[in-house]
């Protein structure tokens, strides 16, 4: 009973935050609704007994990805509340694609064979570690290559200008 209540709380918060992301007009507010949603999903992870995953969700998603998102929004926006309004044709296409996806999702939920399982909070960190270096070693190494590519891309984008070598010439003029 208590579990249902907490589930409804977190899931409801996630859904409300998701809708708010769609409906809000300011990019910065969207970013903060996204953070709310991520924290709500972390709460769901905690409820399922996946403590490690929940903590990682907060540490990496909220503390890293969302922070970067907010940085990007703030550094490149030109006004306090930049707004995004899609055009008519865009909106129709998007609605169509979204409707197809929604129908597919709902059908797959309805036709899945759900088996309620008991929540067994295990020594999650150790088990995840064993599986990462055991059966999921391949994807693990690929992800590290992906991270390397991302870091190289960021370093390339942020490279400094060609330095002006040699002496600087200061013109002796009145500055004021």
């Amino acid at each position: 009973m208590l579990e249902t209540m907490i589930f409804v709380l977190f899931a409801g918060l996630a859904v409300v935050a998701g809708i708010a992301i769609l409906l809000s007009t300011s990019i910065v507010r969207m970013a903060y609704w996204l953070i709310t949603m991520l924290v709500a999903v972390a709460g769901l992870y905690f409820l399922m007994g996946a403590y490690f995953l929940g903590v990682m969700q907060i540490l990496v998603y909220v503390g890293g990805v969302a922070v970067l998102l907010v940085f990007g929004v703030m550094l490149t926006s030109r006004q306090l509340a930049p707004t995004l309004r899609p055009g008519r044709a865009e909106a129709l296409w998007l609605a169509a694609v979204a409707a197809v996806l929604l129908v597919g999702l709902v059908l797959s939920i309805l036709h899945a064979h759900w088996q309620p399982g008991t929540i067994v909070p295990a020594n999650s960190a150790a088990e995840i570690g064993h599986s990462l270096l055991g059966e999921f070693l391949g994807p693990f190494e690929l992800v590290s290559v992906l991270l390397l590519v991302a870091m190289l891309g960021a370093a390339y984008l942020a490279r400094p200008k060609a330095p002006t070598a040699g002496p600087q010439h200061i013109k002796e003029t009145t500055v004021l």
Binding site: Y32, Y51, M74, A125
Partner: protein, 442 residues
């Protein structure tokens, strides 16, 4: 009306009753309380300890779990507030003494202990100013986003065996995650103030905090490797056995990891010498320039709560947690004493060193601290590998090394006390006779 007349205040109802009782009994009661202040304080401490013991042994098993949870959460909230209040007062006294002055002396009869309370009362009465062009909902939300995660970190920190709100397998990561959410509050504050100065402060802040989480985490992970668990209670229990069993002394890499963790935690708490975003002379007050009154108090509280939280982590993981160094019973008081010592060192460092510029801060993190902590991590893992029974020679060295490092630690501690004693004994000569004669109340 004359030039200045105090407008008459009319109390009604409950307030009137309270004011009447306070003035009737308070006129005698408060001075009486202050006269026996020490006695009252000690009696309160004894009563509190007795109450907690009673509750723990007799009442806890009877009550439903949510009552116990509620009481503990309220207690933790009170603890965080007390930590912040005493921290602010302590900071002012410590800064005063380092600067050869006294700090608050008047509010409250003894060394201005009530200064924080007076400041709190003052802040509560201030006008609620929000800049007209600011983003109002985000402006209001930001202080909560800074304070609530700082409080949530305390939910997983054990003060002793069994003195924890919820014991979790991943409590160390939970604390780190909560400290990572604070960044968003700071950035939100800087943005919502709609001022270029605040925005600059927020951006630098975000960079610095996020970057220094990595050396922090790596240093802690080096310690986690030796114990093999992310559970803070287990990490504390693994160091039971006195001074030489502390994780700090098991490994030269762990010894260095403690210091890198401490430096990274200074940066993550925005304390000097890394307090450029908030205290820079040209940014006035950085991201919280536009915050006044109680909202500012929340940022302030968040800072001191964060300071104590990172010191508590360092205590549990490196300094033996709640274990006594001299082999007595372990108790939360040892934990509090060690954490308070680390907080005092944070204040000491703040009032000694100048600020580092933001690009130098980032250089220091990415070019020096990060590779060094990676080396510590690798070194610690190799140490674990070779300190197993498969390599008997190395294993015997690994068993003897804690005593060597522990002796080094004792020497450092002795140096600290020697310095303090020397400064106290020669306090006339060091400051100068003339200054000592000049200082009031010295």
């Amino acid at each position: 009306m004359l030039t200045f007349e105090r407008p008459p205040v009319e109390y009604k109802g409950l307030s009137r009753t309270i004011v009447r009782l306070a003035t009737k009994w308070g006129g005698i009661g408060i001075p009486l309380l202050l006269r026996f202040a020490w006695g009252v304080f000690l009696a309160a401490v004894v009563v509190l300890i007795a109450f907690v013991w009673l509750v723990q042994h007799f009442i806890n098993p009877l009550l439903p779990w949510f009552v116990r949870d509620f009481v503990v959460v309220v207690g933790l909230l009170a603890f965080v507030c007390i930590v912040a209040i005493i921290g602010i007062w302590g900071e002012r006294k410590v800064s005063g003494r380092i600067q050869s002055r006294l700090g608050p002396m008047r509010t409250g009869a003894w060394h201005g202990w009530a200064q924080s309370l007076a400041d709190g009362l003052k802040f509560v009465q201030k006008e609620d100013l929000i800049p007209a062009a600011a983003d109002k909902p985000l402006f209001r939300l930001a202080p909560y986003l800074a304070l609530v995660p700082a409080f949530c970190a305390y939910l997983a920190i054990p003060f002793g065996v069994g003195w924890v709100f919820r014991e979790a397998d991943v409590s160390l990561l939970f604390v780190l995650a909560m400290l990572a959410i604070e960044v968003l509050g700071v950035i939100m504050a800087g943005w919502a103030s709609n001022s270029k100065w605040s925005l600059y402060g927020a951006m630098r802040e975000g960079c610095q905090l996020v970057s220094y989480e990595i050396p922090m985490g790596l240093s802690l992970l080096a310690a986690v490797l030796s114990v093999g668990s992310l559970n803070l209670t287990e990490l504390g229990e693994a160091q039971a056995g006195g001074w030489f069993a502390w994780l700090l002394f098991q490994n030269p890499f762990l010894f260095a990891a403690f210091f890198t963790y401490y430096i990274a935690s200074l940066a993550s708490c925005k304390r000097a010498p890394f307090d450029l975003p908030e205290g820079e002379s040209e940014l006035v007050a950085g991201f919280h320039t536009e915050y006044s009154g109680f909202r500012f108090v929340m940022f302030f509280f968040a800072e001191y709560a964060g300071m104590f939280a990172v010191s508590a982590l360092a205590t549990i993981i490196f300094l033996g947690g709640w274990g006594s160094p001299i082999g007595g019973p372990s108790s939360p008081l040892w934990f509090l004493a060690k954490s308070t010592f680390l907080v005092w060192v944070q204040m000491w460092v703040r009032w000694t060193l100048p600020r580092i510029r933001i690009d130098q801060v980032m250089h220091a993190c990415i070019k020096y601290l990060l590779p060094f902590t990676l080396l510590l991590f690798i070194g610690s893992s190799f140490w674990q590998l070779y300190a197993s029974p498969a390599h008997p020679l190395f294993a015997s060295l690994a068993r003897l090394l804690p005593y060597g490092l522990g002796t080094l630690g004792l020497l450092l501690l002795g140096l600290y006390f020697f310095g303090a004693g020397y400064g106290y004994y020669y306090r006339n000569r060091l400051v100068g006779q003339m200054a000592r004669r000049h200082l009031p109340g010295a």
